[in-house]
């Protein structure tokens, strides 16, 4: 299980919990697992293609990752809005 850390509206959509334990071998699978746990999250992080939205950053143990980045038990995933998104 990885520890997924959520902020802002994502935290609200996930039942108000700042952290969630979610299983999965890569970032996309973990995020899909998060959607299964909290269907309200669907469409907010991953789009219809399964791609992380352009102005969302996912960090795995402090390093920026992509959909295919490997995840191991105990890893920490931070899901954060990017600084590029607001104009």
């Amino acid at each position: 299980m990885a520890l997924v850390c959520l902020h802002g509206p994502l935290r609200e959509l996930a039942g108000g919990r700042a952290t969630q334990q979610v299983s999965g071998a890569d970032v996309q699978t973990v995020l899909r697992g998060l959607e299964d746990l909290h269907p309200s999250v669907c469409g907010w992080i991953l789009d219809e293609r399964g791609t992380i939205r352009r102005h969302i950053n996912v960090f795995v143990n402090g390093e920026r990752g992509g959909e295919g980045t490997s995840v191991s038990a105990g890893d920490r995933l931070e899901v954060l809005p990017a600084i590029t998104g607001g104009t």
Partner: protein, 356 residues
């Protein structure tokens, strides 16, 4: 009292006022602060407000509320099928159909229908398949389905306009779709490529309420009228300072009426001569009259986007409202004879809808 729902780059701004007073409207509330609100409308059936919000972080969503100052709920089903090769980019417009449905149009050229007052939406798969099978080209604002035009009294008939994929019609409630582009001249294409091209950048389309087979479009260079339900089109832009612009509206009581807001051209999308002017026709486009009393008449280089012009009422009491990317909103309570400033110093205005 008239209500204006102003979609802006930084939230939904709800204005209220009396157009007869000629005074700025009051800001009743601001919702979705900091977020781009592309469009908002009050459903005439349920009185519920629906807003389309494209968060730069979290993607496009439709929200609804009975009270815009209260709680908003996210609608369901506003997405392409999972595993699509492209993603939903934006919802441009929501329109009430004639049979109780609501329709939403968006980028990439998609149509959604809601049969429960906007709580849940279903993608029109027949139109989606046309987009998948055919090479639709996006305009500068994306592949936007921005105009949805019901046929009064016939809920299965609907017309759409897509930038830049032209005009589409259905007579069977969206089971099948056909194009209606004959006569539209795309001056931005080489002459040899114009005939039969579907790369048609319609900016806004409307139907004459009392003569449904009559329709108008503001094109990317050209204003057109159709008298055969949008199958073929005739240019009616002569007499305008420019036939380029984005929005268009009509007086529901008069099938010969249309209002446009010309911009200099696609090379310079501001009002000609620094003068804010709305142009009105009452003879189906044979002639145009500038309407500018009360509007800025010098050093005003404004841009009005395609969904930022709306009306309420009809006839002599027709109210007209438009908002500019400068953050100004102007209104008329007498069918364009005179104008007043309804709001100023708002964020850039994306859309305006009016309910009297």
């Amino acid at each position: 009292m008239t209500e204006l729902l102003v979609g802006s780059k930084k939230g939904l701004i709800v204005l209220e006022g009396d157009p007869g007073a000629g005074e700025p409207f009051a800001v009743r509330c601001r919702a979705f602060p900091g977020e781009p609100v592309d469009f908002a409308m009050r459903d005439p059936a349920s009185r519920r407000i629906l807003a389309t919000v494209t968060s730069p972080f979290y993607g496009p969503k439709i929200w609804f509320a009975d009270d815009p100052a209260g709680e908003w709920t996210q609608a369901e089903g506003v997405a392409l099928p999972e595993g699509s090769e492209e993603a939903l980019e934006r919802i441009w417009v929501i329109v009430a159909g004639d049979g109780g449905s609501l329709y939403a149009g968006g980028d990439p050229g998609v149509l959604f229908e809601s049969r429960d007052g906007g709580q849940s939406w279903e993608l029109n798969r027949a139109l989606r398949q046309r987009r998948v099978d055919e090479d639709w080209q996006p305009g500068g604002g994306g592949l936007c389905l921005h105009s949805i035009v019901p046929w009064p009294g016939e809920p299965d008939r609907l017309s759409l306009a897509v930038s830049a994929a032209g005009v589409w019609h259905t007579d069977d409630h969206g089971e099948t779709w056909s194009q209606g582009n004959r006569g539209i001249l795309a001056r931005y294409l080489p002459e040899e490529a114009r005939e039969g091209s579907s790369q048609l950048c319609v900016h806004r389309m409307e139907r004459a309420a009392r003569r449904p087979e009559r329709m108008f479009i503001q094109f990317h260079g050209g204003v057109y009228r159709s008298d055969d339900a949008g199958r073929s089109w005739s240019a009616i832009g002569e007499g305008l300072p420019s036939d380029f612009g984005f929005p268009l509206t009509t007086d529901p009581s008069d099938p010969d009426s249309a209002y446009v807001i010309p911009l200099r051209g696609d090379f310079d999308r501001v009002m000609p001569d620094g003068q804010v002017r709305v142009y009105e026709t009452r003879d189906g486009g044979a002639s145009w009259t500038p309407r500018g009393e009360g509007l800025p008449d010098h050093q005003a280089y404004l841009t009005v986007l395609r969904r930022a012009f709306d009306r309420a009422g009809e006839g002599e009491g027709l109210q007209l409202y438009f908002g500019a990317t400068s953050g100004d909103v102007f209104g008329s309570g007498d069918a364009g004879e005179s104008w007043f400033t309804a709001a100023s110093r708002l964020p850039p205005v994306f859309s305006v809808t009016a309910t009297a």
